[in-house]
Symmetry: C2
Subunit: 434 residues, 2 copies
């Protein structure tokens, strides 16, 4: 793990090839669920766009539905200010992922999470957004930067979290997406609202499998809310109900990073807003914005990626993968139970319909039978949709579990071979590449 | 473009560092829709597994639902024969992607296509399969091989193809997935049932954006069915109706490949089965199997990827991207029309329900009103589901269109700068990486 402890600091300053990447600001514009009028968000967005132009890169989530299609982004003033802005949509409402960058964006790609809550949970609405991860490839001072922006499923109840397995599966999909698409990148940056506490299973899984470092943990220069919280009670949009058993605040928005090839990256400063905005009555959003300054330098040979997957890290990864597989197993069992239950409801509903038709054909209770047909038809249709949905859910969870099992098997085999053969394997791999 | 023409052949044989990758067999086990009993497929699969062990690598599609979960793959005999087999599932029925490999598989990842037909087209059933692309990372003789296996949405009518936009979007997602996940690979291999003819828009889009070469076009040594067709009239599972306006056969299964880094790959031989199996009464499947032998060699500097994106290739890519954007635009308009139509049906159905409730409250036509409530409830529920589905469809198509626009803008800018600045840009990029 790279740290910015006193002992290592001289290595950074001693390096003559230090390159400053850019100031990076990640903010969550989360005003839609708070009932703020669409027009009311425009000044916030305009300020975000201007900041993107001045600072370098803003990765935002929850822009809402049509801001970019026909909203203020098309105005000539902002077209002048924002050198390059990208909007990535998914789902019915739109995932609202949005990027403002003063550096030209080389490539974009989006991966929609295959599991994202339940369509019948209308009041939560996450399913309708189609949560996803957006990838942007940028070139800064000759470095290839893969910037990822994402927003995972919200946690509505910490005690009884019905979306837990989905969030773990999303974290795994995100980790796999980053792992497989960042192999040629010099620097990887992930910003977004993960809707997970730092020690949550999904968060650990993401960090262990991708090797990403948490800017809040790594930096020596942090300014902002206590414990880096991004949902704080001081924010006028946040209620005590939102914070649940954490009245002093929670940290669910992150800046995570790593250097992949011969580079090393460290977080020099990290700032958060603190619940109120000095320039306006209302804060940016119900989530505090994060701003990180990252430095990149050439890495000495001993800091290559091979050393990052030592026995200790491997053991942590194995342990978190086992736990995640168990949780997904519980999710699969629940999904199968719902599929079976709705299957029975379909059979029961169809039988009831037949019975009601027979009753309706007779004279007695004819009217009651016809009236009861109405909810029965609705029941069969809804149960059919629920059956299909939970069958798909179980398959999606099985897929994530199978991918985890593959990694787990490989990692356990490597661990069993011991650390010396592992190093030999790493060296052989490096030799092959040379 | 790499070719195997006479003029270039000496370059291959002159190279002392030629390395044989492996024999690669791609076969489509497509027996499920033909009503063949599940048990009847086992001998075919067992043979495929044995062939995978003997030859190297088999990438198969349409394995069906539960073959790997509780079927024959768990038997001890096959566990001994198949050194490494991987099963990747998605969707309700399962996409049926399956790989048999004698080389250890380093990593696996799957991307489920966000658009894949319509759930209300029960009789086609593609939506329920959850079509996807599977990625396998293998290490062969020190080379990193990214093998992709996929199965796109079927074309049920060439004249009136309601899935055309979906297939183009799938081809784009596939191309993007390969483009972004193969940057560190030495060799890229794609096998599968693309359900597209060689000159179809989706196929051109895939080849132009990824730079993949078609084994059938590139090889000098082809043995098999006429024109490399993989659905032939001689096959007892294929009817003339399946072939439509192409009675002599169609080519919809492919082996595509490219070398990414300092390597060059060529297809030495390509074989297909010819509609009948010498060892059995019935052929493997309704699709003919393909077997390709690929050779890999170190590439001289002048053959680097930079020269592959010359003005001619760029112009082809721009033209195919424009056409694809137009087709997706038509798909978006259609999806929005259906969403609007189902929206009107919901409003109309709800109004009808209110009217029927009023009528039911009175004495006249009470019974008729209650009976009519039943289809009205069903209508509103079904229209609601259709509305949600087509809103999501339009967003998915918009996303693909936006990604295409990004590539198109960048490619057009590069083309406008002319070939000399382009070369300078390429050289600068290479300089940056060095």
């Amino acid at each position: 793990m790279h740290t910015t402890s006193e002992g290592e600091k001289p290595v950074f300053s001693a390096c003559s090839q230090t390159r400053k990447l850019s100031n990076i600001l990640a903010c969550t514009l989360d005003l839609l669920p708070l009932g703020v009028r669409r027009a009311g968000r425009h000044p916030h967005l305009a300020r975000a766009a201007v900041l993107g132009f001045v600072l370098g890169l803003i990765l935002a989530v929850e822009l809402g539905d049509r801001g970019g299609e026909e909203g203020w982004l098309g105005t000539p003033l902002l077209a002048l200010l924002v050198i390059k802005q990208e909007l990535v949509f998914s789902g019915m409402i739109g995932s609202g992922l949005c990027v403002f960058s003063k550096h030209p964006i080389q490539e974009i790609f989006q991966h929609v999470y295959s599991l994202n809550g339940y369509p019948y949970m209308f009041h939560h609405g996450d399913w309708f957004c189609g949560k996803s991860v957006g990838l942007l490839v940028l070139r800064l001072s000759g470095l290839v930067l893969n910037a990822y922006v994402t927003h995972l499923h919200a946690e509505y109840s910490r005690q009884k979290d019905i979306y837990f397995a989905h969030r773990v599966a999303q974290a795994w999909e995100l980790a796999q997406f980053i792992h497989h698409t960042s192999k040629n990148a010099d620097v990887v940056l992930l910003c977004g609202d993960l809707n997970m506490h730092p020690k949550d299973l999904g968060c650990c899984l993401l960090k262990e499998w991708t090797g990403l470092h948490d800017a809040f943990v790594e930096t020596e220069d942090f300014k902002g809310s206590d414990d880096g919280c991004t949902m704080v009670p001081k924010n006028c949009y946040v209620s005590q109900q939102d914070l649940g058993p954490f009245p002093s605040g929670i940290r669910i928005d992150y800046v995570l990073y790593k250097a992949v090839s011969e580079f090393h990256v460290c977080c020099e400063t990290l700032k958060t807003t603190t619940g109120c905005d000095p320039h306006s009555d209302k804060p940016f959003s119900d989530h505090e914005a994060l701003m990180a300054t990252l430095y990149v330098k050439h890495s000495p040979p001993q800091e290559d990626p091979c050393t990052a997957c030592g026995p200790l890290e491997r053991s942590d990864l194995i342990s978190v993968l086992r736990e995640a597989r168990t949780e997904l197993g519980l999710g699969i069992a629940k999904a199968r139970w719902w599929a079976a239950f709705s299957g029975y409801v379909i059979v029961w509903g169809l039988s009831l319909l037949v019975l009601l038709c027979v009753l309706a054909a007779g004279e007695e209770a004819r009217e009651v039978a016809i009236i009861l047909c109405i909810p029965s038809v609705g029941l069969v249709l809804v149960a059919g949709a629920v059956y299909l949905f939970h069958k798909q859910e179980a398959k999606g969870l099985c897929r994530a579990q199978a991918e985890m099992l593959h990694v787990l098997t490989r990692e356990t085999e490597t661990q069993d071979r011991g650390s010396e053969p592992h190093l030999a394997y790493c060296l052989q791999q490096e030799g092959d590449r040379a």
